[in-house]
């Protein structure tokens, strides 16, 4: 009995996993896009030192980076409805992911901006560009290029974080797995399919991000780039 997989069980339940995987991908995609936008906005607010908003963004970033996603989700899903703010599991998942991801993206972009050599800014000023012009035309394009790998790493991180969504009753991969184990005690089959499902989602992304990282390594000024 031990070590033998029940293949018909696997085939039978593949649609369940497929559905769950699609849900995971959908939520992750919304979360990643949302985080990207929030990240850029937060980063711009801090870079341009907009009064009032800038300290608020700082508080948000610290709160979001120093708490686990699971706890954020519990608060959003079980806590906030007591104030009359009721979300569906899906909305809650996406908002939670954006809340978490936004700060990571913002930090990533900020590092990108910080990494632009100081001489770039100075040269721009000496050519008579204004502060705003320098930021938009000199700093930002270079910063974006260097933060692409960070963006990729964050996207993979967020995709992995979606695994906790079963806690707020989203029928994702973990949820289906736990369900099947509980219902039929087909532990091996369920776990195998879980691992395969995550591999199918994450492996290509991981490979793509490694490739992109190698491509943009010579994006900065002065790196003539040897492939």
């Amino acid at each position: 009995m031990r070590g033998i997989m029940d293949y018909s069980f696997i085939v039978e339940n593949t649609p369940l996993y497929l559905e769950a995987a699609l849900l995971t991908i959908k939520i992750a995609a919304c979360g990643i896009v949302g985080s990207f936008v929030v990240g850029i906005v937060c980063c711009l607010i801090r870079e341009l030192k907009i009064p009032l908003l800038s300290p608020l963004v700082q508080v948000y970033i610290e709160l979001s980076r120093n708490t686990p996603l699971l706890i954020q989700l519990f608060f959003l899903y079980f806590g906030l409805p007591k104030l009359g703010i009721v979300w569906s599991s899906e909305a809650c998942g996406i908002i939670g992911l954006i809340f978490l991801g936004g700060s990571y993206m913002a930090e990533g972009f900020r590092t990108g901006i910080d990494n632009v050599p100081k001489i770039q800014r100075e040269s721009a000023y000496s050519l008579g560009l204004t502060g705003t012009q320098t930021f938009w035309k000199i700093i930002l394009p270079q910063a974006i290029a260097t933060s692409v790998p960070v963006f990729c790493a964050n996207s993979i991180f967020l995709l992995k974080e979606t695994s906790v969504f079963s806690a707020v009753a989203l029928a994702d991969l973990m949820y289906v797995t736990k369900d099947l184990i509980g219902l039929y005690y087909k532990t091996d089959e369920a776990l195998l399919m879980l691992v395969i499902a995550y591999l199918i989602i994450l492996l290509p992304l991981s490979l793509i991000s490694t490739w992109i990282e190698r491509r943009v390594r010579y994006a900065g000024y002065g790196n003539t780039g040897t492939l």
């Binding site: 709160l63 699971l70 608060f75 906030l80 992995k160 695994s163 973990m174 691992v195």
Partner: protein
């Protein structure tokens, strides 16, 4: 005041219970972290050897751990091991195994990158003074590595603490579980308990992780040379 519901935090020993629950997760995090540091240093040193096969094996281990969500690893150990080895491991045990497994990989990678960032002449000067390989490592390389490692290591600790919150999903009684018990117990007299309990847990985590990540940032600035 009555319908605010914040009093749920201070009724009886509720707050102490929450703190005790938090200690459970923190304990798991600290134990796993201690193992990860020791094993990670060893792994990091192994990862810098010249043998390609050894490096490949380490690489595969690292990538496998990195690509899988930690919760999946937890499920594998918690549900899988129980069935296959016939051992009924507790959630805590599974958590320590998985987080050590994960932490060792992350720590190993940090140690590796710190080790290769030490200039080659440091090794060579050591050898030319007649020191053995072990002496060079212990007296010259590791002390320098330590300085470079400290900020990212401290940062890993906050990640570890945040990750241990997952153990509630494999049935360990920790802060979230205690919170749920309190909420269930006061469902009728205090329907808004969930807001305050989960809010409190949120800020408890923040209160622990924030100082540590500040420390990491300060160390990074201080030790940058």
């Amino acid at each position: 005041m009555q319908d605010m519901g914040i009093q749920v935090l201070f009724e009886g020993i509720n707050f102490q219970r929450l703190l005790a629950g938090l200690m459970v997760s923190l304990n798991l995090a600290l134990i796993s972290m201690a193992f990860s540091i020791v094993l990670g240093i060893v792994l990091g040193m192994i990862m810098t050897v010249k043998n390609r096969l050894v490096r490949l094996i380490c690489r595969i281990y690292l990538e496998t751990v990195r690509i899988m969500p930690q919760l999946v690893l937890l499920f594998l150990v918690y549900f899988g091991a129980a069935k296959h080895f016939g051992v009924d491991i507790s959630g805590e045990m599974a958590a320590v195994i998985v987080f050590t497994f994960w932490g060792t990989a992350e720590m190993g990678d940090l140690v590796r990158s710190a080790l290769i960032s030490i200039p080659k002449h440091q090794y060579e000067s050591g050898y030319s003074l007649g020191m053995t390989k072990l002496q060079v490592y212990i007296r010259i390389i590791l002390p320098q590595t330590f300085r470079r490692l400290l900020p990212s290591g401290v940062n890993l600790l906050t990640r570890m603490i945040k990750t241990t919150s997952l153990v509630v999903l494999i049935g360990v009684v920790e802060v979230v579980k205690v919170g749920k018990q309190i909420i269930d117990a006061s469902r009728y007299e205090n329907p808004k308990a969930a807001l305050w309990i989960y809010g409190a847990i949120f800020f408890l985590y923040f209160a622990i992780c924030f100082p540590i990540s500040r420390l990491s940032a300060v160390l990074e600035r201080r030790l940058k040379t």
